[in-house]
């Protein structure tokens, strides 16, 4: 996608820059001001939705690096979120650590769990890896239920709200700011990771791992790095999730959520950072739509219609995207931009 005339890229630094024109800086500034101002005019319910979207974005960024960029499909992402969530919950609730020291530990623990369960990826791929990651999800959840003395088992665990200085972040608005800061940092980190040597290696592994290995990319190291990075994101997201609820329970980490995180990637566009954000936002908004429409439908048709609508709508969205727009919303957005830019001509000049 080119820019308007006058935006020259004269050296490598400029070519690699994330923001190149004054207009982009301006839009970013407007976006930040909008985020800062949100609690002024949004109701608590809208803030809750946006907080949940923020947590989903962090998690999907991790899955995007692992699955979208490195091609290692993981259906155990929620399991790794649970690891981060419980480590953070135990450290703050049982040992009395502050949230700010527990969060890095949670991220690290998730990453280490990712390393362990990512080991099969060295031998297997595709469907087999999906099965291995599904297995890891169930094993993690089972372990959490088994270690009742420290995790509370099926009863769950009460988690204190994070504190910043003397301020307890227990209002919706303060937690919204916290999650948004992390979501923006996660986005920035993702944008930078994929521009590094490791990021390029990930893409090479995704496109053809044998060819990548022949070119001298160390599969062992880079696949595990991808698992580590992806699961660190999951750990941060999981930790933020349980601190938001003030409660940790395995019910917050159902297996199907892993599938929906992959669904978000497909709806948004695999291997694209704006795609990950678009996917997380749009599927979460769909969920909200279903929560609003469900009771109405239940009253009109049958009591179970709400539950069935939730399942069918999510399934159908993924089916329709796979058939009609397998490259996701991000690709569609680029097409729309190109259409308006080139109008009245329908094709861009050849490279």
């Amino acid at each position: 996608m080119g820019f308007g005339s006058g935006a020259f890229r004269e050296n490598y630094g400029q070519d690699m820059a994330l923001l190149r024109t004054r207009r982009q800086w301006g839009l970013l500034a407007i976006f930040f001001v909008f985020l800062l101002a949100c609690p002024l005019f949004c109701s608590d319910r809208v803030l809750t939705i946006m907080t949940m979207i923020g947590i989903a974005i962090i998690s999907v960024h991790g899955l995007n690096i692992l699955t979208g960029y490195c091609g290692q499909i993981s259906m155990g992402h929620v399991g790794f979120m649970a690891v981060g969530a419980y480590v953070s919950a135990i450290l703050t609730a049982k040992l009395g650590w502050s949230f700010w020291t527990a969060l890095p530990c949670a991220a690290l623990a998730s990453g280490l769990a990712g390393l362990v369960f990512g080991l099969p990826s060295l031998k297997i791929k595709g469907f087999y890896l999906i099965m291995a990651t599904i297995a890891s999800h169930f094993i993690i959840i089972w372990l959490i239920l088994q270690l009742r003395s420290i995790t509370g088992g099926a009863d769950g665990l009460a988690v204190p709200k994070p504190q910043l200085g003397g301020l307890v972040l227990n209002s919706k608005a303060s937690y919204f700011y916290l999650v948004m800061v992390f979501a923006c940092l996660a986005t920035l980190l993702s944008l930078n990771i994929i521009r590094t040597r490791a990021g390029r290696a990930f893409v090479a592994i995704r496109d053809n791992d044998l060819a990548a290995e022949v070119m001298g990319i160390n599969l062992w190291s880079y696949k595990l790095q991808a698992f580590f990075i992806g699961c660190v994101y999951a750990g941060v997201a999981g930790s933020l999730l349980v601190h938001y609820y003030g409660f940790a329970s395995v019910d917050q980490f159902p297996f199907m959520d892993s599938v929906w995180y992959l669904g978000m990637l497909i709806v948004g566009g695999m291997g694209s950072i704006p795609g990950a954000i678009l996917g997380a936002v749009s599927l979460r908004l769909l969920d909200e739509l279903v929560t609003i429409a469900g009771p109405i439908l239940s009253a009109a048709v049958a009591a179970q219609a709400a539950a069935s609508l939730a399942l069918i709508s999510r399934g159908l969205v993924i089916i329709l995207f796979l058939i009609f727009e397998p490259r996701g919303l991000d690709h569609r957005w680029e097409m729309i931009k190109a259409y308006f830019k080139l109008w009245p001509f329908s094709h861009e000049e050849g490279e």
């Binding site: 699955t67 031998k123 469907f127 169930f138 179970q304 539950a307 796979l322």
Partner: protein, 295 residues
Amino acid sequence: MTFFLQLAVTGMALGMVYALIAIGFVIILKCSNAFNIAQGHFVMIGGYLGYTFLVTFGLPIWATLILAVVTATLMGLLIERLALRPLVGQPELAVIMMTIALATVLEGLATLIWGGEYKTYHGLLPTLTLKVGQISVPPESLIGLLVSLVAVTLLLLLFRYTKIGLAMRATAEDLQVVQSFGIKATTVYAVSWVISSIVGVVGGILLGGVSGVMIPLAEIGLKAFAVVLLGGVNSIGGAIVGGIILGVSENVAAGYLDPLLPGGGLAQIFPFILMLIVLIFKPHGLFGLVRIERI
């Protein structure tokens, strides 16, 4: 010893359920290289269809089976034509996500139509009970074993002696070669989906008659993948052997180890532990083909 044998025999029953799901899965995989996560949901739909035909409509068993086969054929054809065919040539993940999405839609439909409740139709199907010494053989295992054996025999005959069976094996081997020989790959795909949907639905009806049917029945489908991986993803016989091994070992392990663990519930994750072990040490399973990959 009696305890062990009883555990093993009950495990066999479970294993046959696994095997039924695994067979349907292997058929689709053999022909179109598509991994069908929704196979367990076919079994669940079958169970509910059995309830509708036998209890709601009050039909006899033979009519139920015929209607169920017709419904399964329609379901298989529709799924293949509408959902899977547009994905030919797409990456593996797209196909897997498609079948997961299909599974969700099927679950949603089952919730909508049957209310997601536990339904049972005991006594309407002929049941077999057998007692050997002190061990009673549960009817599920006999029915499951019977259906699986019949299904496998028919399928082996189909794959071995019919033209479409040969076409199916060939399509799994090399799509381009098959197409250049004038075989319609789309027909082969449609047939494979219809067969596995029939196997699932008929199995579901028989299971529903014994142990009832509810939505979580579909989740056995996830555990059945351990069977598929253990037996080798493209071996029908392997599905049965794997099913028996997993069912028995899961039940025995849970029976002896559960009292030692604080939370119990080992049976819930035993298949997944086995799955990880198989994937790490023998990714192609006991009877699977080892494929060599080239760039």
